[in-house]
């Protein structure tokens, strides 16, 4: 009892004790649970939550790289970078985005602001990200924007570097243009952001990877309302490399001026390298209209223009080669020994074959004619016979070997391969057998045959250099910003033909005659200081008219024939090879040859002819030395 009393005195609240003890245990368990939760958050999920904390506070600001320049062969840039005044809008800062956007559209007199905002929204860009809603504002637009600043909350002006094409449309098809990256591109290219410039056409497109450079970035610490506090890290942008072309802007200018207002194309190649010296196509366009984001109306006008200004005729235009194809006939037949230089045919002005008359362009005929004169005077009947003896398949093999009917592999989009028909091709294409009479059309480069100006320039180069087909290239070097070469592009031999040098000699002498003999079809291209070798051609536009030549000027322009001229010079060791077509201009000798001559004159003015002195008499082409390049 005493013990109980003492205990009771020590424990004045006996009835409370068990519950206090129980409660204490419960409280400790709860606190223990808190400790477990903290262990989970701070030790197990630490990595993940750390990342989230960084994502909270770090904003990545991209610094787009300056686009690399483009230089011509003599290091003159046809492009530069100009400041562009762009209207920028931060959706978050505008209480009523749609109203503001509509007001801005009205003020600038241009639509597309709402569309740009929508597309930014579709990409899930946060509202605090500025969106470029209109580019390249002109001065009145800039003034209007500044004046009405208060009515346009969230809209501001920003100066951005933009591509500018100094000479406007000069070499537009080759240079191409840049434009704003599209939503489709964005899905494909992770490195691009909306508003970025991207090459859309031509060199700008195919050399995009070199020109673009690497955009840099800044890691900026921001607080919860997005205020920038400090720069954490900066990765400097690497400006794009510059691309050095093989093109000579002077030559390009002469070529384009010589083509003038007519539709047509010209390709000039260095036959010893395959480097493109000039590549013109007309009608053309001004790439500057694209660089700022082209308006819908301007785009529609360009794409629906029946003269196809956006099409690069030099690689996309497929035309019947006409009489220029006779060079292929000659080489093929001589190599196959179905023809000798002495073989003669009679040309009475036409021939009957398969119950139909095939006429020579010269109504009165050429009489008895052999190869040299047949090339010089472009006798159709002679080559009808040559083709007929050779057969279309053999001809097609040679044409292919000489680079026709297939893509050259030039670094441009949309190159077309053209057509070199054969019995197998016709069966595949039309499910029909080949009619021998069709071979006659092919022999004079009509009918199914289709080639591009680039292919004919390649052909001229290969004939001139002794049978080497180079891959046509228009870029010889990619340089870093400081000018040190990053990559060089030496000539690439695509195909080395083993043509008997004597055969080539005969053909070349014929081609020299075309220009230099008084009765040659391209006497207009004759130069004083250099022997030019060439071949004219006429591409028929109206197929029905085949074989029944009409007088050129009697036809309305759109039915008139296209005039071809392909040439190289100097004839014995060529430095330049050119093919030129002028659409609806009639005979090549009168339309295209002067254009080629103008380019050659400029070329030899800039690069004086090397090697032996020009021969005096017009037949000198017959006895020059064998080209060392031919093996």
């Amino acid at each position: 009892m005493a013990r109980y009393t003492r205990q009771a005195r020590n424990r004045p609240i006996p009835r409370l004790e068990p519950r206090i003890t129980g409660l204490t245990i419960v409280l400790m368990l709860v606190l223990g649970a808190g400790a477990v939760r903290l262990y989970y958050l701070q030790l197990i999920k630490h990595h993940q939550l750390s990342e989230l904390a960084d994502r909270n506070r770090i904003r990545l600001q991209r610094l787009p790289a300056l686009r690399g320049l483009v230089y011509d062969a003599r290091h003159r840039p046809p492009v530069d970078t100009r400041p562009s005044f762009d209207a920028v809008m931060v959706p978050e800062d505008s209480p009523d985005v749609v109203t503001t956007a509509n007001r801005l559209e009205k003020l600038l007199g241009e639509d597309g602001v709402v569309k740009k905002l929508d597309s930014a929204d579709d990409q899930g860009r946060p509202d605090f990200d500025p969106v470029i809603v209109d580019e390249r504002l002109n001065w009145p637009q800039v003034v209007a924007l500044e004046t009405h600043q208060l009515e346009l909350p969230g809209v501001s002006l920003q100066v951005n570097p933009r591509r500018h094409y100094i000479y406007g449309s000069l070499a537009a098809h080759l240079l191409g243009y840049v434009g704003e990256v599209t939503v489709r591109d964005l899905n494909r290219l992770p490195d691009y952001r909306m508003g970025d410039e991207i090459g859309k056409f031509g060199l700008e497109r195919t050399w995009e990877a070199s020109l673009r450079g690497d955009s840099g970035g800044q890691e900026i610490e921001v607080d919860s309302v997005g205020r920038r506090l400090r720069l954490l890290r900066e990765i400097p942008e690497r400006p794009g490399n510059s691309v050095v072309m093989t093109l000579d802007l002077d030559l390009q200018k002469v070529a384009e001026d010589a083509i003038g207002d007519r539709a047509g194309a010209l390709v000039a190649i260095d036959p010893n390298t395959g480097y493109i010296l000039a590549m013109a196509s007309h009608p053309t366009f001004d790439p500057n209209t694209f660089a700022g984001g082209i308006s819908t109306a301007a785009w529609r006008e360009l794409t629906t223009d029946p003269s196809h200004p956006l099409s690069n005729r030099a690689i996309q235009g497929v035309y019947p080669p006409g009489s220029t194809f006779k060079i292929v006939d000659s080489i093929a037949a001589l190599e196959d020994h179905t023809l000798t230089p002495q073989t003669a045919y009679n040309c009475p002005g036409g021939m009957y074959y398969g119950g139909r008359e095939y006429r020579c362009w010269r109504k009165q005929g050429h009489g008895s004619i052999s190869l040299h004169r047949a090339i010089v005077e472009s006798c159709d009947v002679f080559f009808y016979n040559v083709g007929e003896r050779l057969g279309v398949d053999r001809l097609a093999q040679w044409a292919h070997a000489l680079g026709l009917g297939r893509k050259s592999g030039i670094d441009l989009d949309n190159e077309r391969s053209g057509v070199i028909p054969s019995t197998e091709w016709k069966m595949r294409r039309y499910g029909e057998r080949w009619y021998p009479a069709e071979t006659l059309s092919v022999a004079i480069g009509q009918g199914y045959v289709g080639v591009t100006p680039l292919q004919l320039a390649d052909l001229a180069a290969a004939v001139g250099n002794g049978g080497t087909l180079y891959k046509p290239q228009f870029v010889k070097e990619v340089d870093a910003l400081d000018g040190t070469p990053v990559k060089m592009f030496p000539p690439v031999v695509e195909n080395q033909l083993h043509i008997d040098p004597e055969v080539l000699d005969i053909v070349r002498s014929g081609m020299a005659g075309v220009v230099n003999q008084p009765d040659g079809t391209a006497h207009a291209a004759k130069m004083d200081n250099v022997i030019v070798a060439g071949k004219t051609g006429t591409a028929q536009v109206v197929k029905e008219a085949q074989g029944q030549r009409t007088k050129e000027n009697a036809l309305p322009e759109q039915y008139r024939d296209h005039g071809w001229f392909m040439a190289f010079a100097p004839a014995d060791h060529p430095q330049i090879a050119i093919a030129c077509i002028i659409e609806h201009a009639g005979h090549g000798g009168s339309a295209a040859a002067p254009v080629v001559k103008a380019v050659m004159q400029k070329y030899f003015e800039l690069n004086p002819p090397q090697g032996g002195p020009p021969a005096k008499d017009p037949d000198a082409g017959k006895h020059y030395a064998v080209d060392p390049l031919a093996d």
Binding site: R19, T21, L27, L31, L38, Q42, H46, S50, N56
Partner: protein, 368 residues
């Protein structure tokens, strides 16, 4: 009196005193860190004020320790009436911030009557429950009066609205009634009744309170709205890792991603900068304080002292549990401060005074 004083000094409970001051110190450091860089020169006014509150609170704690806690019983109803009066004043003429009227502006201090109400409810509850329960414990009939004593301030606090404090009032009353000797069967009935009533309570919740509940169950349902608090708090705590980012280096707090960082979410500030080690230290201090409080209750001289110690300890416990539970995403967001640590004069002073009462109960365990 002089002789008594010496014994009180002799039995002064340094454990509670040191733990309370340590927690207040940790709170001051957290407030300092959360406000670091807000002003260019000197300390943020918040820090200076908190320091002043700690001073006042510590003085009050010592005073309360020297004070005979039994006289609190005598004046319990008076104190209770005073608290109710203040709650009515705040309802009529209170200073409102963020849509709720919680403060009476006294100039130097924005008095928060709900902090006073917590102590008053504990006091009046203990005063009523100090009578020994009959054999077999209290049943439903005995609980009616304590329930009414709770209901008046609880409704007034809910009207402010301050769901958090109302919750604390209910929890602490329930704790006291249970420990005081509630019949097990009655406890079970009440618990079941509460469980059944909970869904009905949904209708009485304000829209923002419902939103908080929904976003607690699925924070990602509205990550920038009501789920934001939970997400940012978890990020802050988790990114602290084992050892923390270091004082003044917590990015979540410094860059204001963390909401209410000097009050409701101050734990996240601490945990971000001092990591798991720091949060264990803080949790350890609380655990020690709560354990010590329970020990004091167990060794109290009388029922009144024991229950009073349970009441004070219970306030600490429930607030710590709910606040940390909320900061770590285990509980929905309700505005409850971390006792002794969160910024706020009323809360700090009331809590330190309560610690003084705890010391007083301890010191007098061998007296009378």
């Amino acid at each position: 009196m002089a002789a008594l004083d010496r014994r009180i000094v002799y039995h002064f409970d340094w454990t509670v005193c040191v733990l309370a001051l340590a927690l207040a110190g940790a709170g001051l450091l957290s407030v300092l860190s959360a406000t670091w860089g807000n002003t260019r020169h000197g300390l943020d006014p918040l820090v200076v004020r908190q320091l002043a509150w700690i001073g006042i609170g510590a003085t009050l704690m010592v005073a309360a320790a020297l004070f005979d806690y039994r006289s609190l019983g005598t004046h319990a109803y008076l104190f209770y009436a005073l608290a109710i009066g203040l709650l009515i004043v705040v309802a009529v003429a209170g200073h409102s911030t963020g849509g709720s009227r919680r403060w009476i502006n006294l100039g130097f201090l924005k008095l928060e009557p709900s902090e006073v109400a917590k102590l008053a409810v504990v006091l009046v509850m203990v005063r009523y429950l100090r009578e020994e329960p009959p054999r077999g414990g209290w049943n439903l009939r005995h609980v009616i009066i304590p329930a009414l004593l709770l209901a008046v301030p609880a409704v007034l606090v809910l009207k402010q609205p301050d769901l958090g404090t109302a919750l604390i009032l209910i929890l602490i009353s329930a704790t006291l009634i249970f420990v005081g000797g509630l019949n097990w069967r009655t406890a079970a009935v009440l618990l079941m009744g509460a469980a059944l009533a909970a869904p009905m309570a949904w209708h009485y919740l304000k829209p923002y309170q419902r939103e908080r509940l929904v976003s607690f169950l699925d924070p990602q349902s509205d990550p920038l709205g009501s789920g934001y608090h939970i997400i940012q708090s978890e990020i802050a705590i988790g990114s602290g890792g084992a050892w923390g980012k270091g004082l003044f280096k917590g990015t979540q707090a410094r860059l204001n991603f963390l909401p209410e960082q000097t009050t409701d979410f101050i734990f996240a500030v601490w945990a971000e900068e001092f990591g798991f080690a720091g949060s264990m230290l803080l949790l350890g201090l609380y655990t020690a304080l709560i354990a010590r409080g329970a020990w004091i209750a167990r060794h109290a001289r009388d029922r009144f002292g024991a229950l009073l110690a349970i009441g004070v300890t219970g306030i600490i416990f429930w607030q710590v549990a709910i606040n940390i539970g909320m900061a770590t995403g285990m509980l929905p967001v309700v505005g409850i401060t971390l006792p002794l640590v969160s910024y706020g004069g009323s809360s700090l002073i009331a809590m330190m005074a309560a610690m003084g009462v705890l010391i007083s109960i301890h010191a007098r365990r061998f007296l009378f």
